[in-house]
Amino acid sequence: MININSNNILKGWDRNTIAEKIANDLPHGSYVNLGIGMPELVSQYIKDDREIIYHSENGLLGMGPSPNENEIDYDLINAGKKPVTILPGGSFCHHADSFSMIRGGHIDYCVLGAMEISIKGDLANWSTGKGIPAVGGAMDLVAGAKNVFVMTQHLTKEGKPKLVNECSLPLTGASVVSRVYTDYAVLDITDNGFKVIKIADDIPFEYLQSVTEGKVYQ
């Protein structure tokens, strides 16, 4: 691994480009749960050739975009506790029914952020091991969704690889991630390592390997 410092960190895709790539990989008719934060961007890049239905853990299926200021209903919020809307054909349910959708394998895709992803598909995204522990629905989503996509920067703010041989942080789930979308590449978790599906134009393969723990292959 090369010694990464601010001088040799390359710039790959911006977060909108990553979101668009994920959006293009969600098939028509999918039921999708987008994690709070960066993954929420994905919904802005869904093309007209498909209809996607968004699930929010707090009992909302068919979630729509944020409301205008004057249309805010504090009883209509998403899992991030922000005001949202509901689209025609949507529905409300209670928490056990909502998590039946997740845990029963009915959510086709969930897109989550990550602190670390191991080469075996282990995910750590809920705890730095410090502060007040708070897990929310992350462990249910990774255990239950049919496909777990991760959307993340390839490197931590400190310039360390997030794609690692072994997660050092507390796990959210073991062997749960199927695909990782970073600013440098789209990579599948396989038995042979991180398989590159796409790589950003300005990122040489050798660089990608150098900023990733564990084998990367094409």
Partner: protein, 237 residues
């Protein structure tokens, strides 16, 4: 492109059904029983089916007719006796059809568990009875419970009152019964609805089965009423 789960032809609805499939059939007695889908399944001809339902058919229509056609090798149900449940009784008495009797609440909960990602749960129901034989026991707070496992299915045949193109379902009165939980438990949930409406007309507070649990829907405007049909001597095919 818009999601549209509504099919025009029964053959499209049932196209994926295969020999040896496990099929849940909604309904409790005649209420919520998808008679037209069952007749479609007779026309389809799939054999060696395992049926999960509350009952085992009445008369020679619906599930009773499917069994009469010898398409069913096993029934998992709580109550396989009906006043006119002739086809099941005949085959059962000859040893031609298998039966697994499950307490009604355990049946419902095993189905719901399958839809909710729960492979097994403990229950007090049937403890100390013949239906607990061979089941794992566990003590919680000094009381004995038995382990029951999830009941999955390849298909669920569901009868609803109203659907939209997403498969959001509404039921009529006690015709709800097993239909919502079976919709959750099957890989493919196939629905007959009396009416298809636009999604703007499905109140999100009142949806009983959200479309996420439904794969295909067909409109059957005037479904057969079992009591009247049996009185009139209707049989199928």
């Amino acid at each position: 492109m818009e999601i549209n789960k509504v099919k025009e032809k029964m053959t499209d609805l049932l196209s994926d059904v295969f020999d040896g499939a496990t099929i849940m059939v909604g309904g409790f007695g005649e209420a919520g029983s998808p008679i037209e889908l069952l007749h479609g399944l007779i026309d389809h001809g799939a054999k060696n089916l395992t049926i999960i339902a509350n009952n085992a058919g009445n008369g020679n229509i619906g599930l009773g007719a499917l069994i009469g056609q010898k398409q069913v090798k096993k029934v998992i149900c709580s109550f396989p006796r009906s006043p006119k449940g002739i086809t099941f009784a005949e085959q059962y008495n000859k040893g031609e059809i298998e039966l697994e009797v499950v307490p009604q609440g355990t049946l419902a909960e095993r189905i719901r568990a399958a839809g909710s990602g729960i492979p097994g749960f403990y229950t007090a129901t049937a403890v100390g009875t013949p239906l607990a034989e061979g089941k794992e026991e566990k003590i919680f707070n000094g009381k004995k419970y038995i382990l029951e496992e999830a009941l999955h299915a390849d298909f669920a045949l569901i009868k609803a009152e109203v659907s939209d193109r997403y498969g959001n379902l509404f039921y009529n009165k006690t015709a709800r019964n097993f239909n919502p939980i079976m919709s959750m438990a099957a890989k493919n949930t196939l629905v007959q609805a009396k009416k298809i409406v636009q999604p703007n007309f499905t109140n999100p507070e009142h949806v009983i089965t959200p479309g996420i649990f439904v794969q295909k829907v067909i409109e059957i405007k005037e479904p057969i009423i079992e009591t009247i049909a049996i009185e009139e001597g209707l049989t199928y095919p």
